[in-house]
Symmetry: C2
């Protein structure tokens, strides 16, 4: 959907003539009360569920949660997935043409924030004729968007579901983002962010950035259970060695975890845009609703009126349960309707993307409650 | 000290005509019973205490622990600091000339291990006429060397002091090392490890590697206390902005933690050799005394006879207290003399380098015991 009205951004710039790519699932009901907005995190997109015809691998990133009969049941709800501006999956972003220069935006794409994304999403809802969402849901950075909706457009959502998220990034979180950014920016193929105009892609930096990110998405325990200290089975010339004999190499792969991480980095560097990575890690860094309230998170939620579901995972060390509890406390300080589930799951931050019975049970119950509250024949 | 006898390495190679740089402090007593070997970690050296004449900044890395009247009292003990082969502070390493090619070793320097280092240290002790050390002490990778002494040369040390260490690296530990190595190896200035011959240094990779490492040395809490989400004070053109106003930038420094990490990376890239970084992170990866005992750590310590002091720090998430407790259990399984102190300290892994009263109290008491056991007029 193309938007002609300029979008003013927090950084002071204005985004003109932008496009948002979105997908919808299910049917908007007669009184337009069953819409659920799904917000994506760092490297995901509008494609939240289902597969594209003829492409069996194109599974939506939250397909285990969203669909007919799923916890977020598309037989009952009208689900919207939207790609945020600055990302690289179709909505206006740094790989698109800057109308002012007729060159790709590159590093000149304006810095966007969670607030800007939520404003863009609200305009999309306007265009779809949705005055109030039944719910906004997201995990990680997606959860930050859900929380932002609750403070920025309190009358436009009834439920806010924020999973594996935080009220802001800790110094350590910012530090990991910064190392990833430095890996990208110091790649000689980055060319000050105008690599497309130079016909290059800073793949080396993207690989390292993704490897760093990936470590923080998994729990220590999951890594030990999945890879441990296993050596990678000998291949090629070394196939005659027993598989438990180290090869003693500094440059080649020795341990399975190394092989896995390199593979993750390689895959990511093939499809993700480096400037989008810089922008979206900054979206994370800048999110801090308490900042303009003198650091008082409770004050930040003073205007909120949604009903809240917070969920965290015990082994998530990126956004630990303690960070979710900070949010819960701030919401309770405002006497809001809050449920909080702390799920004992071994998978670390990535747990929010996985199919865990207790986790999905909490979400199924929440959406059944939302459906009941909507009334009507679908309830 | 130059060694003519070749040193056989675990990887199968042999190190010929190698040199070890070492420093000693205090005086070896008449019966040669008061020698303490100090083992260094990833980026340290033989210079463990004191300052070099005319260079006030050249403070030894464990100067707060070692010296006259300090917990490791050089009025009583003869302290030896030695730079390990493969490192870059004077002992034979990848920046030295490979006698076979008359070129710098570069990436052809053989892969070394904790066992090889301990063998080299034992030969140094031979040359110094020290049949038995009063103690071997080290933190982090230094602690691994102390543990290796206890299993490899059980009769040659009376006390083993292993601080903030682990019986092996977890998959997550290896993962962080691997990302750091990839940052170095994929730097175009790396030239397959023969950058010296090409007149370059892979500084970009070294910077990123150091930034990653540094995050894992500090606790989350310390980072929050020291930097939090503080913005770096505006400088230069931006000096007119209030210091709490974000600049909204993806390429420039916004948060104080970013400034700190970049500074750490820059400093490190000026003095540390990239091939040494690869080698020494591999020394860490490969250390695993249980491996040749079918994963049974208790069996690995079956031959040990030293008295052990283990110390860990509550906020160390690189080598957590749980990892030290694994070692303690294995030692107790062998009915060895073991003391274990778990110090409540906020500083993360770096705590082993800092001056904490309870931590240094434990070490002072241990060295007083060692001195008493030595007997003689110094006791």
């Amino acid at each position: 959907m193309a938007f002609a009205a300029p979008l003013p951004l927090r950084c002071g710039a204005v985004l003109r003539d932008y496009t948002l790519v979105y997908e919808t699932y299910g049917t908007l009901n007669a009184d337009r009360s069953n819409a659920v907005l799904v917000c994506h995190a760092l490297n995901a997109s509008h494609h939240v569920a289902g597969i594209y015809e003829g492409d069996a691998k194109s599974v939506g990133w939250w397909d285990n949660l969203i669909g007919p009969g799923q916890p977020l049941d598309t037989d009952r709800f009208f689900v919207i997935g939207v790609n945020n501006p600055g990302s690289c999956f179709g909505s206006t972003g740094p790989t698109h043409i800057n109308p002012a220069t007729q060159q790709p935006w590159g590093a000149d794409f304006p810095v966007v924030t969670v607030e800007d994304w939520v404003d863009a999403q609200a305009r999309l809802c306007d265009a779809l004729g949705i005055a109030q969402l039944a719910a906004v849901i997201g995990g990680s950075l997606g959860g930050m968007q859900a929380l932002c909706w609750a403070t920025r457009y309190p009358q436009r959502l009834r439920h806010c579901i924020a999973i594996a998220t935080a009220p802001n990034l800790s110094a350590q979180n910012i530090a990991f983002n910064e190392v990833a950014r430095r890996a990208i920016v110091t790649d000689p193929d980055f060319h000050d962010g105008h690599y497309l105009a130079c016909g290059t892609v800073p793949k080396r930096g993207l690989r390292v950035a993704r490897m760093i990110g990936h470590i923080t998405y998994l729990s220590d325990d999951t890594m030990d259970a999945k890879f441990g200290r296993n050596l990678r089975a000998a291949i090629g010339a070394a196939a005659s060695l027993p598989s438990d004999a180290p090869r003693y190499t500094t440059l080649d792969i020795e341990f399975e975890i190394e092989s896995y991480l390199r593979h993750q980095g390689d895959k990511f560097s093939e499809y993700f845009d480096a400037n989008s990575y810089l922008l979206i890690t900054r979206v994370l860094d800048y999110f801090d609703p308490a900042r303009e309230h003198g650091g008082d998170l409770s004050a930040a939620f003073a205007a909120a009126s949604a009903k809240f579901q917070l969920i965290s995972f015990t082994t998530d060390w990126r956004f630990s349960p303690a960070r979710s509890r900070e949010i819960v406390k701030a919401l309770l300080d405002n006497r809001l309707d809050v449920s909080y589930a702390e799920i004992a799951a071994p998978h670390g931050h990535d747990a929010f993307l996985l199919d865990d019975a207790r986790y999905h049970g909490v979400l199924r119950a929440r959406f059944e409650r939302i459906a009941r509250e909507m009334g009507g024949p679908g309830a």
